[in-house]
């Protein structure tokens, strides 16, 4: 039987990365995700799987090391928290433009600026709308439990290699710092050089017996060719939108109202909804697991069933825009948020539902 362990979300990320057979981690410490690097340093995977773990001199250096490792076809990752992820944006845009797979973890803290170390979801726009310059998307996964922190390492890497585009795990300080039960995946071997050459024919890992040399770059000064590149990126994004939308629903069968929330906040909403259901209020919950691609189609369907929707977010109202785009004015879509590291409790969420929708007043 698999062993059940108790650990923090950040620790689970480190264990899962080693067990995935990741080739490298490059990072720079910042609260609330420093345990990722600390745990990797403690586990010393360079002595077992051969995985490289390196504390870079800065976030900018770390993301460029990721670019270098990814260009050779290797499974590489970085992690940081909001201010550090802002620093990485140039490198992330370059990764997207060079069609490189990579995994980036953001354990969000309150901003803007240096802000606070307490939990936040205020980087939703940055993660889902590009973040760096140019027309690109990341595949964005939003874990709500320590188990999902562990599971999304493999999912993120796999999707990233499948579509040759960077993936992000967008977590928050709660799921990073919280300890829960987790079942870790089996240890997989790192891919051999031969496997990398076979699976990543684009990789710049030495010419070998190829009849051409691979060049990885985001630069293309011929505008006609650069437009073709952009069209190819967009075609990839359409395929991802068609195939990779993930979400979880609770109590939506008979729901008159819908709460939409992601990450650990969805669990606080679930508790509020369980309390509301006990009082006879028919409220459902949709938790997007992929924030990009967004579950637009399903939310549009639910807008034909419910009388109103509320997003609950640790920000001033970001995902609410995507919900409104999905609903296209069919029903009112309201937002309730806390900012700066404050976390709403279930009672506040019920109050927000009641103050936005008269029918939900008790």
């Amino acid at each position: 039987m698999e062993e059940v362990k108790l650990m923090k979300g950040n620790e689970a990320i480190a264990h899962a990365a080693i067990r995935y057979g990741a080739d490298g981690y490059f990072g720079y410490p910042i609260t609330p995700q420093s345990e990722v690097l600390e745990t990797l340093a403690e586990l010393r995977p360079w002595e077992t799987t051969g995985m490289v773990v390196l504390q870079a001199e800065s976030e900018v250096a770390a993301i460029n090391m990721v670019y270098g490792g990814a260009a050779t076809g290797r499974a590489v990752m970085t992690s940081s928290s909001s201010p550090g992820v802002s620093l990485k944006q140039e490198g992330i845009s370059y990764l997207a433009a060079s069609e490189l797979p990579a995994l980036i973890l953001n354990v969000m803290r309150g901003g803007p600026g240096l802000g606070t170390i307490q939990p936040s979801q205020a980087d939703y726009f940055q993660a889902t709308k590009g973040g760096g310059h140019g027309d690109y998307h990341l595949i964005v996964l939003a874990p709500a439990s320590v188990q999902e922190m562990a599971d999304f390492v493999a999912l993120g890497f796999d999707l990233s290699f499948k579509y040759r585009t960077p993936a992000m795990i967008l977590a928050d300080g709660i799921v990073g710092q919280m300890m829960e039960k987790v079942i870790l995946p089996e240890q997989r071997p790192r891919r051999t050089d031969e496997e990398v050459r076979a699976q990543c024919p684009w990789a710049a890992c030495g010419r070998g017996n190829r009849d051409h040399k691979n060049v990885v770059t985001s630069l293309e000064l011929d505008s006609a060719k650069m437009e073709v590149n952009n069209e190819r990126f967009q075609a990839t994004y359409r395929r991802i939108e068609e195939n990779e939308v993930r979400y979880q629903e609770y109590f939506t069968d008979d729901a008159d109202y819908l709460v939409v929330a992601f990450g650990s906040i969805a669990r606080i909403c679930l508790k509020a909804i369980e309390d509301a259901r006990a009082k006879g209020l028919k409220i459902g919950l949709l938790r997007p697991i992929t924030l990009w691609p967004f579950p637009t189609t399903r939310i549009a369907e639910l807008s034909k069933q419910v009388k109103g929707m509320l997003t609950v977010e640790l920000n001033a109202g970001q995902m609410v825009e995507d919900v409104r785009l999905a609903v296209e004015g069919a029903v009112p879509v309201r937002h309730f948020g806390r900012m700066g590291g404050m976390i709403p409790n279930p009672v506040e969420i019920l109050d927000a539902l009641a103050s936005n929708f008269d029918e939900l007043k008790l």
Partner: protein, 180 residues
């Protein structure tokens, strides 16, 4: 069974580790467990608190606005959490440094002089284990054996010789409640 517990005090009093040991004991008893700390600079000198939930069903929110049981180790924590104990719940406090006593009459209030007990054991580090013993005497959500199995599993071998002292502290804490 579901028990929602907050433990709060000064950073350095062993608040977070007490919660962690309780969470591990829950794991040993095959319960669902969440351990949600306050994190950051308050770990050293400021006020620290941790929410531990033990349940035989999946746990939704790791963040709570009311608790079945609160263990408070300083005046600020008493002021903050006394009102958040559910009616019928339990409030355990250490009287050292408390100048305003708890006033609720709809909950069980238990005073545990863990500081004096730790001095009697001649080891101030046993402080949080004495409190954990007191907590488990009031709210037997996990057994002492589960706590000890959890310690054995999580402590590095070189610290295993400290397990008997921890057991002594747990039992002393239980005794402090039994006396009342």
């Amino acid at each position: 069974m579901k028990e929602e517990i907050v433990i709060a005090g000064f950073g350095g009093q062993g608040v977070l580790s007490m919660g962690k040991i309780l969470a591990y004991a829950g794991l040993m008893d095959n319960l669902e467990v969440t351990w949600m700390p306050s994190y950051g600079p308050e770990q050293r000198g400021g006020t620290a608190n941790v929410t531990v939930i033990l349940s035989d069903a999946p746990i939704s929110s790791p963040v709570l606005d009311s608790y079945d049981t609160a263990v408070v180790l300083n005046q600020q924590s008493l002021d903050k959490f006394e009102a958040k104990v559910k009616p019928g719940g339990t409030l355990i406090y250490d009287p050292s440094g408390i100048h305003r006593l708890p006033g609720r009459t709809d909950i069980t209030v238990v005073s545990v002089d863990a500081m004096t007990a730790a001095i009697e054991l001649q080891n101030s580090k046993t402080y949080n284990m004495i409190l954990l013993g007191a907590l488990l005497a009031c709210r037997p959500v996990v057994g002492i054996d589960a706590v000890l199995r959890g310690l054995k599993k999580t402590l590095p071998e070189r610290h295993h010789h400290l397990i008997p002292l921890n057991e002594q502290a747990l039992r002393k804490g239980m005794g402090l409640v039994g006396d009342k």
